[in-house]
């Protein structure tokens, strides 16, 4: 298991009021993403535990694009990865934002 951590300045913060959200599953080629709203609104931190070693450069590119493009400010994100491809990672992260921004009922 390889562990990676990122702390990034986020240009946009997550809207809504939900305090946490979870998407995806830990399975081969898939990943689970837990988002928690507990940081200053211009900060996003991402902790990754991945079964695939040696993809640090790819993760770096994926999470930087994610924070630049999506409203990730204020979120602490934990990723439990089962060797997902980068496109799946990007999709799950975006789905996580959509879920935590959903209005509460």
């Amino acid at each position: 298991m390889e562990k990676l951590s990122f702390r990034l300045i986020a240009p946009r913060s997550a809207s809504g009021t939900r305090t946490q959200a979870i998407v995806g599953v830990v399975a081969s080629g898939n990943l689970e993403v837990l988002l928690e709203r507990n940081l200053p609104t211009d900060i996003c931190t991402i902790d990754i535990a991945t079964a695939a070693h040696g993809f640090g450069m790819v993760w770096d590119a994926v999470v930087r694009d994610f924070v630049a493009r999506r409203s990730a400010g204020g979120l602490h994100i934990s990723v439990n990865d089962g060797g997902a491809r980068p496109d799946t990672v990007a999709l799950r992260l975006a789905q996580g934002i959509r879920k935590i921004e959903e209005p509460e009922r």
């Binding site: 695939a52 496109d87 799946t88 999709l91």
Partner: protein, 548 residues
């Protein structure tokens, strides 16, 4: 004394030798080994019928069981090297030279045998190209073919899987070659005559059907969200603006996703009747929902597909069927249709380089070409206009005199930036080059050449290579859709952004597509069972695809 008529005389000798082991035209199974030994001569050019679908499997095994002291140095000319027996023939020294087209499941073993010098390789062809050579310089002395049934005169019924048979028989029988057919059974009257009996010299009653691989069945359950996204991009970014009505789809999950999105996403975009009305295509089970929803006017098929027989027979308004009701397929005609009468080919591949060459060869596997390079190429002999063809031609050369400007076929490569086991789709150098070097081949096995490919679709977007004006632009357009691969990360971000401003690269957001909408609920069928239900129970999936 004249020397003319030697081929006829040689055929006469083979026929006489064969008759020793036959009753009329019918060879009983126990006599098959002695029969083959009697009619095949060392050094013969032999066409063993078999492609990516049907196989003359009984005849293949019998050929592989010959004694190489009796028969050796055969030159095999055949569409597919697919069964283990196809390579046993070389392993045992019965055959020496090989010209072929496709080798899917034997890709690894054929590579080992080429490296080991067990096979002397002529060339790897596309189907149509190999068929063409059957009539010029690779005409078979003996053809071993497969059919469903025969009558005692040798009239053959091939059923829905006619495929290569008429082509092989035409080239062999009319050039004094010997034609031997394996059939499931000998009957009084065949349901329809696919091959006239006077072209068929012997019939082997096998008592079981020839093998057919369900190669074109894609389980919707395995389609990923990323594949759905690529399918949405292709439909909205290519099918719609070009108005692609006549096309061919490759095998793969991306094109299966497109087929399953037509009645849902395509319908929402108002594209019914405007795209995907005519196909050169096998009866893909994933086409059922689109056909049922009335999208498709006509489909001509290379072969059939296991389990689709009853469905096809019940949809003769769409498919080509015979007086017996079942599908008539024909690989040579369908390949020709795919080349000349289709405006688009779209398919997946394993590797794309920075110029846009693509290949399915990896260093340890030679899968061959099949038909993809034929469909995936711009036919220089085409002369009839159509909207997509003219539009693509104009994009490639906007300043030319329109009346003298060739159109362009749309040749689209579609895939995810990372494939199986995280292997990148985009590479600096194709593995095919290393393979060509190691085997001292004159040509690297390239599936689609750079100058034929017009668009590349990945989850990151669409690159329109027709609109690139320099080698550098082309490279950056490819890097610009290469995602997080090394090739993608090494892009010139500024140039890629300029290409995007010009519409050379289109992102999902440029097309009004939210990647979060790429949901499996968009698929018109999400399982094999859904497909069966959509067909009203007419589609009978092979057991390996059933989980109920």
């Amino acid at each position: 004394m004249s020397d003319w008529g030697m081929q006829k005389a040689a055929l006469g000798e083979r026929l006489a030798a064969g008759r020793q082991h036959a009753r009329g035209k019918v060879v009983p199974i126990p006599s098959l080994p002695a029969f083959l030994k009697a009619v095949i001569r060392s050094g013969d050019r032999v066409c063993l019928e078999g492609d990516n679908q049907k196989q003359a499997d009984i005849l293949a095994s019998a050929l592989a069981n010959l004694d190489p002291r009796d028969v050796h140095d055969l030159h095999m000319v055949q569409s597919g090297v697919v069964l283990p027996a196809h390579l046993d023939i070389f392993e045992k020294g019965i055959a020496r030279r090989l010209d072929f087209s496709y080798s899917g499941p034997q890709a690894a073993r054929i590579a080992r045998m080429l490296f080991g010098g067990k096979i002397e390789l002529g060339a790897v062809h596309t189907y149509l190209e190999l068929f063409a050579r059957y009539f010029i310089d690779l005409t078979p002395n003996v053809a071993l073919i497969a059919a469903v049934s025969a009558d005692k005169d040798g009239n053959l019924y091939t059923g829905p899987n006619t495929e290569d048979t008429p082509t092989v028989v035409e080239a062999t029988s009319y050039k004094n070659g010997l034609v031997v057919a394996q059939v499931t059974e000998v009957v009084d009257k065949v349901p329809r005559v696919d091959i006239p009996g006077d072209l068929v010299h012997f019939v082997v009653e096998a008592n079981r059907p020839f093998y057919v691989e369900p190669l074109f069945t894609r389980d919707p359950a395995a389609i990923t969200e990323t594949q759905i996204l690529t399918a949405m991009l292709a439909i909205k970014g290519i099918y719609a603006p070009y108005g692609v009505r006549r096309l061919n789809h490759g095998i793969g999950f991306n094109t299966a996703a497109i087929e399953l999105l037509l009645p849902t996403y395509g319908e929402k975009l108002g594209l019914k009747g405007k795209v995907c009305t005519h196909f050169a295509l096998n009866p893909h089970p994933t086409m059922i929902p689109a056909i049922e929803a009335g999208w498709v006017e006509q489909i001509h098929c290379f072969g059939s597909e296991v389990g689709m027989e009853d469905y096809v027979a019940a949809r003769s308004d769409v498919f080509f069927t015979g007086p017996d009701g079942s599908l008539r397929s024909n690989r040579a005609f369908c390949q020709t249709a795919g080349l000349y009468a289709c405006d688009m080919f779209i398919g997946s591949t394993l590797q794309i380089d920075l110029e846009g060459h693509s290949s399915t060869v990896t260093t340890s596997r030679i899968a061959g070409f099949g038909g993809a390079p034929n469909m995936g190429s711009d036919p220089r002999g085409r002369r009839h206009p159509s909207e997509p063809w003219l539009k693509a031609g104009a994009e490639a050369d906007p300043d030319a005199n329109a009346a003298l400007r060739r159109g362009r076929k749309l040749v689209v490569q579609i895939g995810e930036t990372f494939g199986d086991r995280n292997a990148p789709l985009f590479v600096e150098r194709l593995d095919a080059l290393d393979l060509a070097q190691a085997l001292k081949l004159d040509l690297a096995p390239v599936m689609v050449y750079s100058d034929d490919v017009t668009h590349i679709v990945t989850e990151e977007g669409i690159a329109n290579l027709l609109m690139c004006r320099s080698k550098d632009e082309r490279e950056q357009a490819i890097r610009g859709v290469a995602g997080y691969t090394e090739i993608g990360r090494a892009r010139d971000a500024k140039l890629v952004e300029q290409l995007r401003q010009r519409g050379v690269i289109q992102r999902p957001e440029d097309l009004g597509i939210d990647p979060l909408d790429a949901d499996r609920n968009l698929l018109a069928a999400r399982s094999i069972k859904d497909l069966m239900l959509a067909s009203g129970g007419l589609y009978r999936p092979p057991s390996r695809f059933r989980n109920w």
